[in-house]
């Protein structure tokens, strides 16, 4: 167990965390501002990945693929918002769960119908492939480093957008009091569509970026969706800062737990037993983290107090 390994795993955790943040940011805005539980957010992630894989296959350009991913996810998001989701804002969470679950079924089977059941592959572009040597002599894949940078850049830009721009102010106002901001002349339904498109585009971007290091397949969105929900609940619903901190916490807990808990257990257990119970605890770790946070602070780390 060397320092090099620890640093490498911390970087892996960060990379996983910032990608979760891209998913969680849209989810927390949609959840916080519109009060909507959107289970179909994972489908937008999947749509982004498939659009990227298809465009990269046709043109060979990774940048075009990313643009296509964001555009396809945003378009799907806007369509879904205008046709279906819009009718659900006034209903309770139960109806939203059922309707967005139905959307998952439609999107997943629709994608399977279009692209088939076999996973697609999206290659890392040449200029980002290969390892890079970090100070201290650590070899680390360049692409993962790029992912961390992109994630942090998006987080910074989103933070500025929410706190500094006029639309950002309207979004925050909409979160606090939607009747009041509608009365002040803001077109609330246009604002909602915009937030939905923004969240969808971020999910699509995450899907495309992660799709290059994993395979692109139907059903890839749901595990990430559950983790993104864990993230926004830990961070406090509606808070971008909470989403970022929650995402990094979850990413690091998941990655480091998977490596270090079995090692830790080996100190006082037989190796094979330590391996199995360590990895059992590791996969439960983020949910234990979430449970502890909620019991300690019932509305998350940065959520509004009841």
């Amino acid at each position: 167990m060397s320092t090099l390994l620890i640093i490498e795993q911390v970087l892996n955790g960060l990379q996983f965390g910032v990608m979760l943040f891209l998913m969680a940011a849209g989810l927390t805005l949609i959840f916080g501002v519109m009060g909507l539980i959107n289970l179909a957010h994972g489908s937008l992630y999947m749509i982004g990945a498939f659009a990227a894989a298809a465009v990269a296959g046709l043109t060979g350009s990774f940048v075009l693929a990313l643009i296509a991913a964001m555009a396809a996810a945003a378009i799907a998001g806007v369509l879904v918002e205008m046709l279906i989701i819009r009718r659900l804002y006034a209903t309770d969470h139960l109806d939203q769960v059922l309707a967005t679950f139905a959307l998952i079924l439609i999107f997943s089977e629709g994608t399977r119908w279009l692209f088939g059941s076999f996973p697609l592959f999206l290659n890392i572009p040449d200029y980002f492939s290969g390892p890079v040597t970090l100070p201290g002599g650590i070899q680390y894949p360049l692409y993962r480093l790029v992912l961390i940078c992109v994630g942090l850049l998006v987080a910074g830009a989103l933070g500025l957008f929410i706190t500094r721009t006029r639309v950002g102010i309207q979004i925050r106002a909409g979160k606090n009091d939607r009747e009041m901001i509608a009365a002040l002349g803001v077109d609330i339904s246009k604002l909602y569509t915009l937030i939905f498109a923004l969240g969808a585009a971020l999910a699509g971007l995450a899907g495309a970026l992660v799709g290059a290091i994993q395979s692109v397949q139907v059903g890839m969105g749901e595990p990430v969706l559950i983790l993104a929900f864990v993230v926004i609940v830990i961070g406090g619903i509606g808070s971008i800062k909470g989403a970022l901190i929650g995402a990094l916490l979850v990413g690091l807990t998941d990655t480091l737990g998977g490596i270090f808990l079995p090692e830790l257990f080996k100190l006082f257990m037989a190796p094979s037993a330590a391996q199995s119970s360590g990895s059992a605890l590791a996969s439960m770790a983020i949910y234990i983290l979430m449970g502890v946070v909620l019991i300690w602070r019932p509305t998350g780390l940065f959520g509004a107090r009841i």
Binding site: F31, L94, L98, A99
Partner: protein, 327 residues
Amino acid sequence: MIRERHLNALVLLLLFAVPLWAFFNDAPFTITLATRAVIFALAAVGLNIALGLGGLVSFGHAVFFGIGGYSMGILAHHAQTYTPLMEAPFLIEGTKSMPVIWLVAMVTSAFAALLIGLLSLRTAGVYFIMITLAFGQMFYFFSISWAAYGGEDGLSVYVRNGFPGVNTLVPINFFAICFVILCLVVLLNTLIAKSPFGLALSAARQVPQRVQTVGLDPTRLKLVAFVISGVITGLAGALFADLNRFVSPTMFSWQMSGEIMIFIILGGVARLCGPIIGAVTFVMLEHFLGGLSEYWHIYLGVLLLIIVLFARGGLVGLITGREVAHD
């Protein structure tokens, strides 16, 4: 428009008549399908006590479904391999007897529900949905890594467990057992809804402050409802495992929790027979649409969407033409 009471009677009658018809016409698969629907209905009736009466949207009821399943799986596994479950401090043997398995499943589910309820009820609303989901995921990952009982592969049981005086290997007999349990639980549900406890629980869902003012503890009422609800879903889990003679971590998955919830929303929240109608409809759709097309999930999705958007109050609301406010 049909009265809800008549609809309830009609549903239970049909649910019994169809397998009976299948028995006389030698269609065992229909009986299995009906048994599946009855067991899902039982799980959903259980959840409906927490969700409909108590307003507790639990996204983690698969925990109890899975605990029931694994109670059956573990006990029967030890019985069929002739290994004791535990030797010290006292000897516990596996068993193939349904009543014992049910008891174990219900007691274990009760303890789990008590613990999860105590912790989760500190939160409310969306956070409650998410913390119950988190507990579900904990159990799911735990069952995957529990190598002693099959891990990811699950546990198979070769012969269905026995019930004193009934040959459970005959499909119609096993169906009858499940159906009787469902009827008893529906009766229990009616009694609870009308009892002082049920009324207080409904009040605690609507205006917790008022309930507190008259000297009742809303959290304790909800906790009791959550435990009762978990116990029933646990029992359903044990029956489901017996139907398939197989348990796997899938019973703990969040999709399972979601499905149980969907049965209720599909049929109608807080309706006596809502969960039953929902579960039966879902199983039928799964079967018939699955036969129509490989991509049947699309049709299921579209159908669910139409029901959410145009049939507020679920199928029961659609048929009886009357909405019951649910919050």
